[in-house]
Amino acid sequence: MKSPYQSLPPERFWKTGVSEQHPFSIIDLYKRKFRILPTDKIATAGSCFAQHIGGHLRAAGYNVIDAEPAPNGITDAAARKFGWRTYSARYGNIYYAQQLLQLVEEAYGLFTPSEPVWEKQGRYYDAFRPSVEPCGLSSPAEVKAHREEHLAAVREVVETANIFVFTFGLTEGWIHRESGTCYPTAPGTITGTYDPKVYEFKNYRTSEIRASFEKFRSLVLERNVTAKFIVTVSPVALIATASESHVLSATTYSKSVLRAVAGELAEDYADIDYFPSYELIATPFSKGFFYSSNLRTVEDQGVRSVMRVFFSQHPAIKKKPSKEKVLSKDDIVCEEAMLETFSA
């Protein structure tokens, strides 16, 4: 009698695929769907964890787009403080798919966001990337001018990227009630003022996230037929939840939804690949080994393990990785971390 499991390879069984494997040496966790060519231009975006990916790809010799390069001579630490050298443009963290879609729609004049400028102590902030100018700007007009320049860079990213790597981070976000405009942070966290009549909490559902990413994909492909996508899910837990749930339940829900969406997208589209960084870090497989003592921050060796799996399928172009310093966990810029200050 034959069983459909009979001739399956070892990685399909928990014992041989997981129990007998080690996080530093696991094989066959990821099989690429398409090659990344040395000439391919790679764009990166996503939640905080995604910052690691661009740095490692660059160090490995991949052509990572930097559409808003920092001035020459500035150190990496100073550059990142102002949103340079973090992603392919200075968009800051993009935690959820609706944010990504909204950015591209805005870049092409398909969407006009509401309340785009937030104020704090006489300084003005781009509500969609408040961390890239930590001291704010002198006027709303200056914010607008900087944003217009940034949107031109976003268009460059969309139109030139052969590979777009996006890390899904959260399902929870904050939106403008009337227009649906979404923001990376809750008003009042870094800047702005929370007015419940104007803003509301939104926990995006699987179907909404999938629809947003599909629309984003279509917008990109309309302008750049060569684009392919690699999606990942951040293994970093929510630092706080605005839902009614315990933060552990909220994290499990969010990550489950994001993992489901990423899996469906990869199943349904030949040009979307899923890379399992989440599995490597956040499942029982690694026994929490890669997390810091706060059980949230991913240690540098965790990131290295993730990238080792990535490079096993997309080999480093440089034989000897560049001496350029890749990010450590302390270099990561994460607005979400500000929420911890509201903890009792």
Partner: protein, 277 residues
């Protein structure tokens, strides 16, 4: 007779020539020089009161410029001067050619930069300079420390195609602003190191951002070779002005120097300063 140790880069030659020509009255300078960022190779020894060169090349410059010393014992000096060593407004002008604050934009094709980001850039560049390194080595020595940034680029800069923008009214306003910002940053750095800031004499400056061309005539640098249209180095006449000011501070005739900022810079400064930053 007071003893003053002067750490400098390629500008050391104009100071040395000035001192040779007219030895300072009441104090004696000892020069320690090396080109470019060479003094980043200095190291503290023992309890930190001795400064020594590391590497053969720096050792040679050290001995050559100091008259044969192989180490500096800070205890033997009454004051220490950090001159130039990469603290210069030229970097700010270079950045400004490509990145401009919105209110100061003089070139439509340039990229925007916020004033805080521009300031952070200057800080980040200064952090890597030999001046920061030497200040760090000597900051606890208990002696009078004078921090004197490099002279502003001289008018020869305007001969270069990539700096023609400074000639325009808007470009000049931007250059004045950037120069003022550099001064703020130097002042902060001096304050943090417990040093007295010595700025370039106002009457040697033109347009708020350049050194008068007359001080570039016969300019000299550490290699001793003079070359035409050097926008960086100055002559011994300027060197004497510096030594006079150093002497004024060391001998207690002068507290420190400050420099006025143009009205535009003051106006812009008021718009910055978010206490949250």
């Amino acid at each position: 007779m007071l003893n003053v140790c002067i750490f400098a880069n390629s500008h050391v030659n104009m100071l040395k020539l000035a001192a040779d020509k007219a030895p300072p009255d009441g104090w004696r300078p000892t020069f320690i020089g090396a080109p470019a960022a060479g003094l980043r190779g200095l190291r503290a020894k023992g309890n930190g009161q001795k400064i020594v060169p590391r590497g053969q090349r720096l050792r040679e410059w050290f001995e050559k410029t100091s008259g044969g010393l192989t180490e500096v014992n800070l205890d033997r000096f009454d004051a220490i001067v950090v001159y130039g060593l990469g603290l210069r407004s030229h970097d700010a002008l270079t950045i400004l050619a490509e990145f401009q604050p919105m209110d100061l934009r003089f070139c439509a094709g340039s990229r925007l930069i916020s004033e805080p980001a521009f300031g952070a850039l200057i800080d980040a560049i200064n952090d890597q300079r030999a001046a920061a390194h030497v200040l760090n080595l000597i900051k606890g020595c208990g002696k009078l420390i004078i921090l004197a940034p490099a002279p502003l680029p001289n008018e020869n800069l305007l001969l270069r195609a990539d700096y023609q923008w400074i000639k325009s009214k808007k470009g000049q306003a931007a250059a004045r602003w950037a120069t003022g910002l550099c001064r703020d940053k130097w002042r902060e750095r001096a304050s943090a190191a417990g040093a007295t800031l010595l700025l370039q004499p106002e009457d040697t400056i033109t347009d708020g951002c350049l050194t008068l061309g007359e001080y570039a005539v016969g300019a000299t640098r550490l290699s001793g070779r003079d070359y035409n249209a050097d926008p960086t180095h100055l002559n011994a006449t300027f060197g004497k002005r510096v030594l006079d000011d150093v002497g004024g501070i060391v001998l207690g005739q002068k507290k420190s120097t400050s420099s006025s900022f143009g009205p535009l810079h003051r106006l812009l400064r008021r718009s910055v300063g978010n206490p949250a930053c």
